[in-house]
Symmetry: D2
Subunit: 334 residues, 4 copies
């Protein structure tokens, strides 16, 4: 079976997914939708796909699945629209910035028995998959502590920050998902600490740029997440899992695997500086996994529930900072 | 000038300090005191020093300075006793497990205008000194976040745990000191999370074995401390400082600097497994710095105040876990 | 301008090049030729190209360039055939195993003023390119010594070895090319040492599996090449350049960038085990560079001359082993 | 039993050995001899030993063993003198620069049934010992190829070079010993290549500064030695052993185990820059091994024969460069 795709949004991430579709066996890009004609046409030229409106894609019999790469505030509506039409949906995170809206949306997905995969690309990074495989194989014994260091090379534009939902919902959300995935249990309490260190304008926009989060499960497993919007040395993406038998860690990726030695010491290039370069393989693996799940009629490896849980952890972190206390996830989820 | 030493306590750490005295120019071991004759005699044989009682050392004109390596509950009394006699004092951490007692003791030290150095050996580790030097030289710009990973190879005996004051006052106290040193500002708030993961008996003794702490200064600088009583791969001691211009990190020490590659991959030996082996150079540097300060009549690089502040952070961490909230240091220090 | 390609040979390496053509802007795969119908059809299905015979491709007006991936003994004839037709030629190394035949072939290429690029893929590896860029930028000063470690995971089949021309012409030839590229001068003398260590059958086939070569230029620059047909830990590919100001080195690539620590130590996965996986990016960059050169009418980054010189170094190494002495390249080239 | 030492020569290396004696249980420094009164007195002050002439030490009943740290051209005479007196001898390499003289000297040692250890300190480096232990334990299977990279931070003074016997006898001699040790078989043929790259004055003094050597045993095992008198990044000391089951490698030692990351990349400190700092532990282990052998009446771990064989390899390398051919060790040893 070939999964025939419509991609909604021909922006940066839409292009990445279109490229992934082209490279995955059993997937075909049928149509692209974007209000910007130039963006859509570039995709058409590259992949030979049709240009259609979102509503035309809704009505297309030759489209089995859509990838939603439109602005965040349209995600939930589009998920509902396509779920009702029986089309499989891959949606970039987050489903919505409001937990209530997310829940309503997921209820629709459930009622329609629809397929929804939320794009947590990092789970599909080859190194992180190797970490997870080692954990699942028992190579570190019982998981005790997960440590996630995630630092962007630089902050996004201020107007993006203003509508991002804040650093916990925009950036840490990836780490919340990785933490849940590696802890293998749901988090019970959240403690968070936050500062503005890199740019006062971020604070004026009501957000933070430097945050740390402690997660704890009922059985006592803990996770530590360290975020900054700025790392002068590149895109810092590390995870560690400590268990009863040892530790497994994923290391950073440098621009090149070389070292230059001189009188001043040994120098390695900075880290890959851009999330799309760092996670190229992850984006391709992610779509491949979606295609495989849709083809086989199986559950997708990440779900709407995963999207909701990561958002709930973000909401708890926000509350923890505001109230300077540990927040129970049940306070958020009810 | 030669600083003439009496060492109080001929146990493991007393032996380390006696060895350091022997290797430092301008220092001489005059007398050892220990209730166990065998321990004292071993020192006498090795270093040719006298065996005296603590009170005899008190009364000795040929002793300029003492190193207190006796059980914790004697530290404060001995500091006071020797301070009043005008002898310089080097005391193993902690001064006392009670902040009130520490304060009283330090008051005496101050009144006597005495010299008191508290043994935070890690500040004298060559790698950590290189990290601090890089920070002080501005190589990472303004400090934003300090990350300390400190894991013991295995838990101490349960009876030690029972009288240790708990993991925060016994183990994390080193990391609190390193955090203060690297942040370059006093901590304002403390959040901590704690579990028992390695051995239920530790929990039954009223302690934890797996803890994480978030520290935040008034200006927004943060530190994250991650501790475990058990790391199967050895004594894990890492620090990182993120600043506006980059990051500096100290790496772990392996048993040997070799790598063995085969069909199953590349293997490096475990980490040095014992704090005295890992911090051999630090212990020697520490005594050298004490000798230099005493000789020159200058302030010691670590002080009773440092000891008190680290203990206050430990008390705040304990309270944070108990009350599941951020604790201000002013709540502890008044 | 779009360069329209015919690929001669649909085997393993032909497939790699076809994939590269598909991913490079300005390149189009028009036709594939292979005596095995199934191989050619697989390419047709994947890329939508025509299936033609080599002679049909010769006669095709819609083919601007060919990639020769046929058996070695056909290379020189095909280079001549397509050069005479004015088509640009990319040929896998070697042009021929006989230096005389190579010279005749290159004479034809020159007379026809044809474009010929010989496939030394390693020059296009991103890490090796970064090494070369550092050298060219003067970051290590004047080059003094080049060290190349190149070990295969395992030997090829014995029948391949029998017709390979021997390890120096088949395997070391890549390292000879890299050495010339990094030395920046022609080699004057060659010394080589060779053994059979991994499989006596290799010796019975008249070849070696473990060789070392010393190269020296007229100005005294040296290169050391170390080869083995077997490295249990994967495909070992390292280069180092020592210069007056320091050293630049390219490191190996592991299967994943993770580390697993336990009681037995720290373990990293083996190296990537297959040349096509290790040099994926190099193969794509190589075709991109060929396309760029053909489009712009400029000289290709590797040429027939490079192919000839690497082969001459191999011949000198063979002679050095046979005669247990340093061999001057002029003895080989006349 | 305590081994009572006389040290002949209070220069740099004499001081290192005196320090080692002081730290080793079962060893005692009794007397120091040096024509420079100041040098001898410094040792007396530090260790409380006597100052005696070499002949007085010869005649001393309270001296069991001597360490010869005098100029090279006195080594053989002193070895003979003390061997005849029944004192155990530890002599810095080389025994002599003339192979004939070495042989005569060793004959005397043998006739006297004396104990002679030649100082090849690197065999006692903890990392190299770990490499050797891994090889001996079969962790890499059958040894196939040894690779030794040994580069000094900078050349010694020209007057030292003039009387050093040349780079092969002065510097490479250490690597010849390590190669023999790790190959586990005697070398049959030697090929060498040599240049002057760092300073023309070295060439004018009749020496080289950049050399490579290929060694081959009768069974086909090979070793590659790469030397330079100048490495801008510090004292480069690496060894690798490739075997049928994998590889074991010893890595370099940096000044500190830290990394500083910024916009320009990741920077580690240069390598330890001085052989006494790099091999501190090796020098102590070496004397400990000598003391143990003398105490137990066992053979020393390195012998006069080892000294002779390393010198013979150096002579062969010299001849190989002169005659541009592979030289058999039998040509040197007869």
């Amino acid at each position: 079976m070939t999964v025939r795709f419509g991609v909604l949004g021909a922006g940066r991430i839409g292009q990445v997914h279109a490229g992934a579709i082209a490279s995955v066996d059993g997937a075909k890009l049928v149509a692209i939708a974007d209000p910007l004609a130039a963006a859509a046409e570039a995709m058409q030229n590259k992949y030979g796909c049709d240009i259609r409106t979102i509503d035309e894609i809704s009505a297309s019999d030759d489209v089995d699945a859509v990838i939603i790469c439109t602005p965040t505030d349209t995600h939930a509506d589009l998920i509902e629209q396509f779920s009702r039409l029986g089309k499989a949906v891959f949606c970039e995170k987050p489903v919505d910035l409001s937990l209530t809206r997310v829940r309503d949306c997921l209820k629709t997905v459930e009622e329609e028995n629809a397929t929804l995969m939320v794009g947590f690309n990092r789970r599909f990074d080859p190194d992180f998959m190797a970490v997870k495989a080692a954990v699942d194989a028992g190579q570190v014994g019982t998981v005790e502590m997960v440590t996630i260091t995630s630092r962007d090379p630089g902050a996004p534009p201020l107007d993006y920050i203003a509508r991002s939902g804040g650093i916990f919902r925009d950036m840490t959300i990836h780490d919340f998902d990785i933490a849940r995935w590696l802890l293998g249990e749901e988090v019970e309490t959240v403690m968070a600490s936050a500062s503005v260190m890199t740019d006062p304008a971020i604070g004026e926009a009501g957000d933070f740029d430097s945050v740390n989060v402690l997660l704890r499960t009922a059985s006592g497993k803990q996770a530590v997440i360290t975020n900054s919007r700025r790392a002068a040395y590149g895109y810092d993406q590390r995870i560690e899992v400590l268990g009863s038998l040892g530790m497994v860690a994923a290391r950073n990726h440098h621009e090149a695997n070389i070292e230059i030695a001189g009188g001043a010491g040994f120098k390695k290039p900075p880290l890959l500086n851009f999330f799309m370069t760092r996670y190229t393989a992850a984006y391709a693996n992610e779509i491949e996994a979606f295609v495989a799940a849709v083809s086989d009629g199986e559950e997708t490896p990440t779900t709407g529930h995963d999207g909701m849980m990561a958002l709930a952890l973000a909401d708890a972190a926000v509350k923890s900072v505001e109230e300077a206390r540990a927040v129970k996830l049940t306070e958020i989820l009810g």
